[in-house]
């Protein structure tokens, strides 16, 4: 089976239309005609992830995010970069091939990524709840909620804004580069990553000021990887339903950062 065959099977088994104009869900490194020994799904095709997949005997990597550090994996300005050379040569030398699964991970019903995120947060509501997907839970404090999410996700670098003692019982969550939006019904907004300021409604400054004014609002920033990686395990399960005879594994790219102690 070639990597191209895997892509064809994915198109056939998506259960919905495949957008042939996608610039994301295409091959970003390696040769599509390479014979596939095994598949790794993951959040991002980092060099470290490629090295671990290779060590596990898996030469096809299916990440949710980028390979060459920008959404289009545009490489024309990168060809002289030493890390770009290292990564492309590593793929070539080891017959590694990278096929991104982003748009169709979200368009699959249910959305693999939202299913994984809701599970990671320990919530049971269906991802089919219509936007803005407000989750209700027994009243707790922002501090306890954040501590519980940190424990469940094994995060080292999650960030929280607002009064730890604020009483909260509703939240909304965004995947990846998105943040839930504050409304009167929403106590806590959660998301992967977001611009700190200058957006439509800056949750960080809002939560800082809400704390000053004694209002029960909070923001929890999970990190892009923490928010979207779990769903790639669901993508692996889906692949296993129609890819037979070769191993399909979910391998975590892992949280990219650590954080020093407070100053």
């Amino acid at each position: 089976m070639t990597a191209k065959d895997v892509l064809d099977l994915m198109k056939k088994n998506l259960g919905g239309p495949w957008n042939e104009n996608t610039y994301r869900d295409v091959f970003h490194a390696g040769d599509a005609n390479v014979k596939v020994k095994g598949i790794a799904t993951t959040f991002m095709a980092t060099l470290d992830l490629l090295q671990r997949a290779h060590a596990a005997g898996l030469n096809m990597v299916i990440p949710h995010e980028t390979t060459f550090w920008n959404d289009r994996d545009e490489t024309k300005d990168l060809t002289g970069d030493p890390v770009y050379k290292f990564k492309t040569e590593y793929c070539a030398k080891n017959n590694m091939v990278v096929l991104r699964l982003h748009d169709h991970a979200h368009s699959h019903r249910p959305d693999f990524i939202m299913v994984g995120l809701v599970r990671a947060l320990g919530w049971s509501n269906s991802e089919n709840t219509p936007p803005p997907r407000i989750f209700k839970f027994p009243a707790t404090t922002l501090g306890d909620l954040a501590a519980e999410i940190k424990r469940r996700t094994n995060s080292r670098a999650l960030r929280v804004v607002g009064d730890p003692k604020a009483k909260v019982s509703t939240a909304t969550v965004g995947m990846g580069y998105s943040m839930g939006r504050f409304t009167p019904e929403v106590d806590v907004v959660i998301g992967g990553e977001n611009p700190e300021t200058g957006g439509a409604l800056d949750a960080t400054e809002y939560a800082v000021d809400a704390e000053f004014l004694g209002k029960n609002k909070g923001q929890i920033i999970l990190g892009h990887e923490i928010s979207e990686e779990p769903g790639m395990e669901d993508a692996a399960e889906w692949l296993r339903t129609f890819i037979k005879g070769i191993p399909v594994q979910f391998i975590r790219a892992g949280e990219p950062f650590w954080s020093p102690k407070a100053g």
Binding site: V83, G192, P256
Partner: protein, 304 residues
């Protein structure tokens, strides 16, 4: 003893008539006059249609003092009131977004994107902040697009001052500093301590790797800037990045065997010292009133 203005004029007599600067001091300096002075002296031609404008308050009020800040949070505004600084000059928005409290143009009806673009005019946090500004006679001026264009880069200069690195600057490049070799772990601790960080600092790289050549890219750090800077330095000191851009690039640099790193301070924490540079500039430009820097601080914390 209190002396009325009329008595003061009588006491000083004709001397007042020729003392130009003294006479000028008695005319109250308005917020608008300070803004005019900033526009004329920004060092770059003043453009219309930028984000730089009075966002709240009456520009005709007399200024008792000026406070600069990275972000005009409620906490910063209340400290400004205590310091009698009624003109607040902020780098980032005061009303939680690009629109800075203006009524949003339209409500999107796209599925999943419901709701107005900016803050709702009835929002209780917005209303309380607006009332606080009005009640305390504050004027909030946003100064970002022009201050950003200033040379040399005031944000890198401010960060270097905050870290006591100015003496390590490489030539005339305000973005490059060759500091005494230090592990990434110790450097992250130093940054946290000097910048009074809580949980906002995040690091890519081995804490044991020793670094020496620092490239500063405070604020919003683009991939293009990081790809340009990291090959010729050991560590990029960034503000805010995107995880699929500079973060992945730094991860891959490390995985390729290089002992390098990336430290993200957060947008506001990385830029606030640049508003201390702004305060120093304003002290000379507006000598009539006290000028203070009131940093917004690190907004983030983390549970144990």
């Amino acid at each position: 003893m209190q002396i009325s203005r009329r008595e003061f004029t009588q006491l000083t007599g004709t001397a007042m008539l020729i003392a130009g600067p003294l006479t000028a001091q008695r005319t109250p300096l308005t917020a608008q006059q300070v803004v005019d002075r900033i526009q004329a002296n920004a060092g770059v031609p003043w453009q219309s249609g930028t984000l730089d404008a009075v966002k709240a308050g009456d520009p005709a009020i007399p200024v008792t003092g000026i406070a600069t800040t990275g972000m005009a949070t409620m906490d910063v505004l209340s400290r400004a009131v205590k310091e009698r600084s009624n003109l607040v000059i902020t780098l980032e928005p005061v009303f939680f977004g690009r629109l800075d409290g203006q009524t949003p143009p339209a409500v999107s009806s796209a599925p999943g994107r419901g709701g107005p673009a900016g803050v709702n005019p009835d929002d209780p946090v917005y209303v309380a902040k607006k009332d606080f500004i009005q009640k305390n006679g504050l004027v909030v001026f946003r100064f970002t697009d022009h201050w950003r264009l200033r040379k040399p880069d005031p944000f890198a200069m401010g960060l270097a001052q905050a870290m006591a690195w100015t003496k390590y600057r490489v030539g005339d490049d305000p973005l490059r500093y060759d500091i005494p070799p230090i592990t990434i772990g110790a450097l992250a601790d130093n940054l946290a301590s000097r910048l009074k960080a809580r949980a906002g600092i995040r690091v890519v790289g081995n804490p044991e790797s020793r670094v020496h050549r620092i490239a500063m890219l405070p604020g919003l750090t683009t991939l293009a800037a990081a790809v340009k800077a990291l090959p010729d330095s050991d560590l990029v000191l960034a503000g805010e990045t995107r995880e699929w851009e500079s973060v992945e690039y730094a991860q891959d640099t490390v995985a390729s065997g290089q002992k390098k790193g990336l430290i993200m301070l957060g947008r506001v924490l990385s830029q606030d010292p640049g508003m201390n540079v702004c305060a120093d500039w304003l002290k000379k430009l507006v000598p009539e009133v006290p000028v203070l820097w009131l940093p917004a601080g690190d907004p983030y914390w983390r549970p144990a």
